[in-house]
Subunit: 405 residues, 2 copies
Amino acid sequence: VKAEIIAIGTEILLGEIADTNSSFIAAELPRLGIDVYWISSVGDNRERLLEALNRAWERSDLVFTTGGLGPSEGDITRSTMAALVGEQLTLDPAVVEKLRARFARIGREMTASNIKQAGIIPSATFIPNSRGTAPGWWLEKSGKILIAMPGPPAEMRGMWENEVLPRLKQLPTGSVLVSRTIKLWGIAESAVNDMFLPLFSSANPTLAIYAKADGIHIRIAAKAPDENIAREMISPIEKILRKELGNVVWGSDNDAMEDVVAKLFAEKKLSLAVVEGFTGGLLMNTLCDCPGNIHYFKGGLVAGSAGLLNEAGIDYGLTENPEALAVVIRRHFKADIGLSVTNIPTGEQPAVNASGGVHVGVAVGGTTRRITLSSVRERARAKRWVVSAALFELFKTLEAVGLEQ
Amino acid sequence: VKAEIIAIGTEILLGEIADTNSSFIAAELPRLGIDVYWISSVGDNRERLLEALNRAWERSDLVFTTGGLGPSEGDITRSTMAALVGEQLTLDPAVVEKLRARFARIGREMTASNIKQAGIIPSATFIPNSRGTAPGWWLEKSGKILIAMPGPPAEMRGMWENEVLPRLKQLPTGSVLVSRTIKLWGIAESAVNDMFLPLFSSANPTLAIYAKADGIHIRIAAKAPDENIAREMISPIEKILRKELGNVVWGSDNDAMEDVVAKLFAEKKLSLAVVEGFTGGLLMNTLCDCPGNIHYFKGGLVAGSAGLLNEAGIDYGLTENPEALAVVIRRHFKADIGLSVTNIPTGEQPAVNASGGVHVGVAVGGTTRRITLSSVRERARAKRWVVSAALFELFKTLEAVGLEQ
């Protein structure tokens, strides 16, 4: 099945908004056995949109569009699609009623331009939109399918999950692509490449390596007639990878490091306190984004200008020593594990802005340790990298708890 | 001048990487008087790339491509462009030498596939790449221009700034587009719309409103034969907007709230301490991303599970009261201004995870105040929104310092 994605909206051509919908849809299709050959963006211009739709309709089996379903003059997706298949737009009275009820509920008046969103043609059916007023269209004609979704990413993703994806799964594509991602920290891309060189030349399943902010991802992807067969093709390769890679593996598929860490804290019934220099709060912010944080995160300090730590009741002399700082912060917040991130090179330097090596100190039980990181990345990337390194230290620390006893 | 942008790479069609280059280029072109009519992505497939280039070459005056200039088998941009204009690829000995020297410098051997990057055709000249090995191409033929740039965004942006943009500025497009953005907080998009309704119907300059994470942006854009005339068209409208909007304006153009705040802290020679509940460190992290933070940011606390504040030496009873908490954190860190973010509804609730109203407390001089925010946004957006609201409170607070004396 050949697919094509078209993002509609002049604001994309002006660079005012980035089209994130197309890349979201493109990432979803391979596992359905659907191949994307073209992605394009066009403005709110009838002639050029019709040209793009005509070409897509001719060369692809399945066309996805996003955008242009709103109530304004510039929203021309529905009328242009009607022109594409030579059909007449009419208003669906049931949808007009639903729109009216929705506007009444949010206390706004429905205008004539809103009614436009109830327009439909004989070959199309509405796709419900649970997060906005504009329903989508599912258009089937002459063996081709055209799916029109709204532009706002939250609305589009809701419609995708609830409506479009379940229906696409019913399409007979003949094959599925199943993938499995294994996530690593503390190993270089080239080292992974060299370790598994013969596997990388396999045509099915394929192996691919990606360098991401949270480490190296290895993706195993198998094409097969159904999901079970694909999984059986993946499983032995995953076993080999895990065996060879050992303890640099911290997660798989959609795992985020902070979630993996939160789960381990819950399992081991331990708590955490943090002091952050270089990362300025980014580590704690990442921990707090994870719903489980309340069960283990006791709180922490963000280091500011030089005098801070002393004033906050911590011995300033200790700040040159990341392990000692981890011990102090743990005691200060009565936590089981203390973690420090700092790049203070001398007692006179401020903690936040100094460049150069960054230290992560961990205090757990009667032991402490430090790792030293040096980075040539620009500041924002360096901060994310240090946060990942600190999370991985927590992961290793928590995994070891219990084993040593 | 009609322009078109093509992103090349199968990984884009698979949704493995998002094409951010096209939106970057699209945002740069309007101020040069260049209109973008088409943006598209194609895979590393000769037939489909040639089809896309042929169509672009026919319908556009200026074609930008990104990607496909690397050393691997899949990098087919150069050879496909040679086919497009019917010319023969040859190696440029001077560029081969430069590549060889570059590889020697980084201690790697140059392979046969790297030499590919020294290929050129008679109608094209090389565009230097200061951040990578692959030079770009500037191809001119039959009154059309094709500009090929590398895919990695850092390399592409470096080439854009240093090489492509200066040359594009020389193109006689007949007009330039100059824009000016005014940034607001604490006013609704619809209210701005209603205030300046007559201005929004102006065709040149045009006015546009955007709702962003840091508030409402109003963009005034003027098309004129040169920059000075455009600025003269913008200036009276900016004056009207600023006069009517008054103190909801906090910045313009590329200003970020944290930079505006850092500048005011420096001007007024004041310092800050922060305690964060709901936002979990995001506010301090934002402040610390701004280079000037070391001069005013004394440090702060991130609130964790219920017992934290007490253990950190702050009276827990006060945490129900954002103003009192701002006073305590200020004293604790010996700062001039204390700021608290919290959503603790009762003394028994934890600070980080509760939903509902969020309070920002400010203590400065002998006065304190609070603002209460309620949000229906999902958590990540709500956090960013609260951080912006807190930064705007700091902005207002700092602007008022000195005036009241």
